[in-house]
Amino acid sequence: MADDKDVLRDVWFGRIPTCFTLYQDEITEREAEPFYLLLPRVSYLTLVTDKVKKHFLKVMKAEDVEEMWFDFEGTPLKWHYPIGLLFDLHASNTALPWSITVHFKNFPERDLLHCPSNSVIEAHFMSSIKEADALKHKSQVINDMQKKDHKQLWMGLQNDKFDQFWAMNRKLMEYPTEEGGFRYIPFRIYLTMSDRPFIQKLFRPISSDGYTHTLGDLLKEVYPMAISSDDESKRYQVVIHGIEPLLETPLQWLSEHLSHPDNFLHISVIPAPSD
């Protein structure tokens, strides 16, 4: 359906306006101007911030530069989360553009993973895809693909090539017609106020008696607090790719169309704005 293809394109080409400001305590030779960038929602911070690094290195001495890292309002940003997820989770209801602070020293070892090169990002990305396919197809589809197909998925993401990526990714979105959907839906629910990083459980898109599960069913099963009852005001927003899908949206359709390139549905549950 034309609608579905539009949805896929809109998800892929989503952007977040970001303002990168150098941390004030960093040592500079002269004043560093902020750097503005439209970050792709579906990519990863360390993959798309080469220009940021180049911009700020112009005003710094080489010996003062270690691994670059980012924070938002004091929270170090995990580069291995997709950018769109980081924004929805931390800065959904703040003013645009998204203000990120750039650091070159005092890497927070306990909060962030190191990212020495792009191959680390590739390894992380591919491992997420394989985990998702293990849930969807018992890894049959991903294992049937050749190495060059895997490479094509990564290159498509790295070079922002929608057609190249989806030429391969559509195979991972197929399912046997008699099943009606994937075996289990690969999803992760992120909460702002929680000690654990995310909720991930086994959940079938179609029940044993053929009933299609919705986003609401998933939340009721896995995190019922997200759904407020009718009488009380909405406490939480359930955000995927910066939008709030209706709770009756089928989970299978969401997994096929609103997953990130790593084939996971990253769902943020954030407090509703109290204005």
């Binding site: 609608d3 809109d10 952007r15 112009k58 709030e244």
Partner: protein, 318 residues
């Protein structure tokens, strides 16, 4: 119908929400950020250029410091120099543009080469996999053959052992046979010896017996011969004539009975009667003999029969 409307509603909702999001987050900022980055580039370039201009300007100023001249001429010179510098920088700029084009070209070529190399690598990897598969197959075959070889060697060894065992058994049995044959031969020869001994003994005994009988007979004959016999010459001739005429036909019992009591005792030539009795003892038929006595018929039954010398003398046939 209701289902499709419902389906449309949430799908439409998602589509609309995405468009809304893009309007707010992307489109509102896209142009501004783009222009900002262009300005940033320009200002960076200007900063670099002005630095260079400054340094060049100072160079020129230092070189021309010593020359006298009016301010205006100095400023004219300055302007000239600055124009020259600008020209030079323009040339550099065009040079750099050209270089950038060339580099872009080489990037394309290198990409193309990389693609080709990737293809080659894939091809080689495929070949390698094929070789590895063959190697695995051959290794499998090799293992199988080695296994078969081992089995055959074991079987061979087993056969050899059995053969050795059989060989030993055979030797033992041969030995046993030889010994048994020897024993058998020894036993047979002993038995034969004993039997021949027995036979010899019997023969010897028989001979002894015969000799005894013979001796006894001889003795009796000798004894009988020694007996004086009264002889009557008339009787003698009579007897002899009758004998020659009808001797063979007539039954012997009648004749002897008629004659013997009187004549026989009177005396016959002892030798003739003895000869007859002797020959009768030793197997002559009653038909052949003349004047046989009843004792004679009895005595022809066997060699070992009881031998009796007749009590009376008998007719003797010549």
């Amino acid at each position: 119908m209701a289902e499709r409307r419902v389906e449309c509603s949430w799908k439409r909702h998602v589509g609309e929400q995405l468009k809304q999001r893009d309007r707010v987050q992307r489109q509102a900022f896209e142009e501004i950020i783009h222009q900002y980055n262009r300005l940033l580039e320009k200002s960076d370039l200007q900063a670099v250029l002005s630095e260079r201009y400054q340094s060049d300007k100072y160079d020129f100023q230092n070189r021309h410091d010593g020359s006298p001249g009016a301010d205006s001429s100095r400023s004219d010179n300055l302007q000239q120099e600055m124009a020259q510098m600008r020209i030079r920088h323009q040339e550099e700029l065009t040079e750099l543009h050209k270089k950038r084009g060339e580099l872009a070209q080489s990037v394309i070529e290198l990409n193309h080469q990389i693609q080709q190399k990737d293809k080659e690598i894939q091809h080689n990897e495929a070949k390698m996999q094929e070789y590895q598969r063959q190697i695995a197959e051959l290794e499998g075959e090799c293992r199988e053959l080695r296994g078969q070889l081992q089995d055959l060697e074991q079987a061979n060894q087993t056969l050899k052992d059995e053969y050795d065992a059989l060989q030993i058994t055979f030797g033992a049995l041969e030995e046993k046979l030889r010994r048994t044959t020897d024993d058998n031969q020894e036993l047979v020869s002993r038995w034969m010896a004993e039997k021949s001994q027995e036979a010899n003994k019997l023969n010897a005994e028989n001979e002894k017996d015969c000799k005894r009988r013979q001796a006894k007979l001889q003795k009796e004959l000798a004894d009988a011969a020694k007996e004086p016999l009264p002889l009557d010459p008339d009787d003698d001739i009579e007897v002899l004539a009758e004998d020659s005429g009808k001797g063979t036909r007539e039954a012997s019992p009648n004749r002897p009975l008629s004659r013997t009591p009187s004549k026989r005792i009177s005396g016959q030539p002892p030798q003739s009667g003895l000869l007859d009795s002797i020959s009768n003892i030793f197997g002559r038929r009653p038909g052949n003999s003349y004047g046989t006595s009843p004792e004679n018929t009895e005595t022809t039954s066997g060699v070992c029969a009881d031998v009796r010398v007749p009590s009376t003398a008998l007719h003797v046939k010549i």
